[in-house]
């Protein structure tokens, strides 16, 4: 345990030193405050929009940003150390591969989690004082928890990438492709399936199940299923109506953290050094 904390501590401080924590927090805070304040401008009203519009807008932005940031933060976590030779050195220490992996995950995951909490928390608090509505805390609470899980999930996926290649540049390319697939392409394919392949008869149930294959979509579902569907459109709107409960969705998101992490550990164990 001590070893895990030592690694976690180092990784967390790296995140502080590189200004990662600061910049992610700032990005999230600016975006969330901007959306909260000017979200209603699109519909011609000035001031704070309705809670559901705000959360919906935040979620649809976060779903692009958080995976990208998590992948950027962690894609070179192992391949970088492999290239500089410290990975080999660390493995000659009394430090197991699982301790190293978990330590890194706790450290870098901590950066993502803290930045999410601070960045979005600011606007939650601000909104609370504006509207005085206690619903805000629960809606934002759910949003922040699921956003943290989304970040952790992509951190784990980034480790998977970082451990399966032996060059940093390849890891970077792969991370970009992964982001594109999960954040953009997946939904387009789903939509195409829904519209184009009608005769094959993809049910709403089937669609929701397909969405479980993408942590980004689960995140969207968690945050939009509680809202008015009039703020939601696209493939999601269909899925929402047949939804799983939010607890179930959160659990699937947790699985999306644990599974890639386990797989990453497995790859690490058989990796040639």
């Amino acid at each position: 345990m001590k070893q895990i904390l030592t690694v976690a501590n180092k990784e967390f401080h790296d995140g502080l030193r590189n200004r990662w924590l600061l910049s992610i927090t700032l990005i999230f805070a600016l975006l969330s405050i901007g959306i909260t304040y000017f979200g209603a401008a699109a519909s011609g009203v000035e001031g704070v929009a309705s809670l559901s519009t705000t959360v919906a807008s935040l979620a649809s932005l976060a779903v692009f940003l958080i995976p990208l940031i998590a992948l950027l933060l962690s894609y070179d976590s192992f391949v970088g150390e492999q290239e500089s030779g410290t990975l080999l050195l660390l493995l000659t220490y009394p430090l197991s591969k699982s301790q190293l992996l978990l330590g890194k995950f706790i450290g870098q995951g901590g950066i993502i989690a803290l930045a999410t909490l601070l960045g979005f928390g600011v606007s939650a608090v601000w909104l609370y004082f504006q509207l005085g509505n206690s619903e805000i805390i629960s809606a934002f609470g759910l949003f922040i928890v699921s956003a943290i899980l989304l970040g952790l999930s992509f951190t784990a996926i980034a480790y998977l990438i970082s451990l399966s290649v032996s060059e940093k540049s390849k890891a970077a390319g792969l991370a970009l492709i992964t982001w594109f697939l999960f954040a953009l392409a997946f939904d387009l394919v789903l939509l195409a399936l829904l519209v184009g392949v009608e005769e094959s008869g993809i049910t709403q149930q089937g669609l929701t199940q397909l969405m479980m294959l993408n942590p980004a979509d689960i995140f969207r579902l968690v945050n939009l299923s509680g809202l008015d569907t009039r703020d939601v459109n696209g493939a999601l709107a269909v899925a929402i109506n047949t939804g799983l409960s939010q607890i179930q969705l959160i659990l699937v998101l947790v699985a999306w953290v644990i599974l890639p992490l386990t797989l990453a550990l497995f790859i690490f164990k058989i990796k040639k050094l």
Binding site: R17, N18, T86, L89, L91, T92, L273
Partner: protein
């Protein structure tokens, strides 16, 4: 004392079709310094990785301090093993002290003790003045010293050093060998891996020569010299060169050892060295004499050439 600290028994390693290390048997005793020599890709690093337990042997067994280094039981031994990899660049954005404190903590030191130990080690390798600077500002030599400090954490019983003197200036190299001698007198064993041969001779007890994954020769320098039967080079200097010529002409035994290229150099088999020296010293015109036994580099070249020859046939 009698059980070796490290022993390899018919140990070999393959990567797919590629044989990185042919099966070999060797052992290293406590307080012994072994020099491991070979070209790039000779299998030096593979052997070190096997001893470190980072990789497992394809055939045979490895024992370090009585246990297989890749097993769970070897866990506690790892705090007693120091390793300097050949190519390592430490976390550039951290300071030297932070890097070393991190590694010291991972070796099992508590937070406070780790920092103290790290500062002591940095003093020992002479990087104290730069310990609060980021590693990215370090020169090659300073990085190497930082790596060495890292290997010395916790007074290791076994040290594996891959090219330890690369990038070190002569004074740092001398200090490094002093540390090795000191560790040795404390009962630590050292495996030195190098292709820089001069200077290492007087600090190693045994040498091991590897080429393309095969063990070519192993033994004390003296034994290897004998095995190679390389001649001793004797260069007498006479006040008048004519005197030398006369001396040789008078003595047919001497002229047989004269090298064809140089008329003033004798190549003498080791066992005839004394008799040749006696005869040369008997001449009055002699003003100086140089005697050179075959050095490690020549022994190394000899075994490599022998290996290449046997491969061609």
């Amino acid at each position: 004392m009698n059980t070796p600290l490290v022993s390899l028994h018919d140990t070999g390693k393959n990567y797919g079709d590629l044989t990185a290390l042919h099966s070999m048997t060797m052992s290293l005793n406590e307080g012994e310094v072994l020099g491991l020599f070979g070209h790039n890709g000779a299998g030096k690093t593979t052997m070190m990785k096997l001893i470190l337990g980072v990789i497992s042997p394809t055939v045979g067994s490895v024992k370090v301090m009585g246990v297989a280094p890749d097993s769970k039981e070897a866990w506690h031994c790892r705090t007693k093993i120091g390793y300097l990899p050949e190519n390592v660049s430490f976390y550039e954005q951290l300071t030297g002290l932070e890097v070393l404190t991190y590694f010291t903590k991972l070796k099992g030191f508590s937070r406070g003790a780790a920092k103290k130990q790290a500062i002591e080690l940095l003093e020992q390798v002479g990087v104290t003045h730069a310990m609060n600077r980021q590693v990215k500002t370090y020169s090659k030599g300073m990085r190497q010293r930082l790596g060495l400090a890292q290997a010395f954490i916790g007074e290791p019983k076994l040290l594996l050093l891959d090219e330890p003197t690369v990038g070190l200036d002569p004074i740092a190299t001398r200090d490094f060998y002093k540390t090795v001698d000191q560790l040795k007198s404390n009962g630590s064993s050292v495996i030195l891996c190098s292709h820089v041969l001069p200077g290492v001779e007087q600090h190693i007890d045994r040498a091991m020569i590897l080429s393309s994954g095969q063990l070519l020769a192993m033994g004390s320098l003296e034994a290897l010299r004998q095995q190679a039967a390389l001649p001793v080079i004797i260069k007498p200097v006479f006040l008048k060169p004519k005197n030398l010529k006369r001396a040789i002409d008078q003595n047919s035994e001497l002229s047989g050892f004269l090298t064809s290229q140089c008329q003033q150099t004798f190549m003498v088999p080791a066992h005839e060295k004394i008799s040749v020296l006696k005869q040369l010293l008997a001449h009055e015109g002699l003003s100086d004499i140089q005697v050179e036994s075959a050095n490690l580099e020549q022994v190394y070249q000899y075994f490599l050439a022998l290996h290449e020859k046997s491969h061609k046939h």
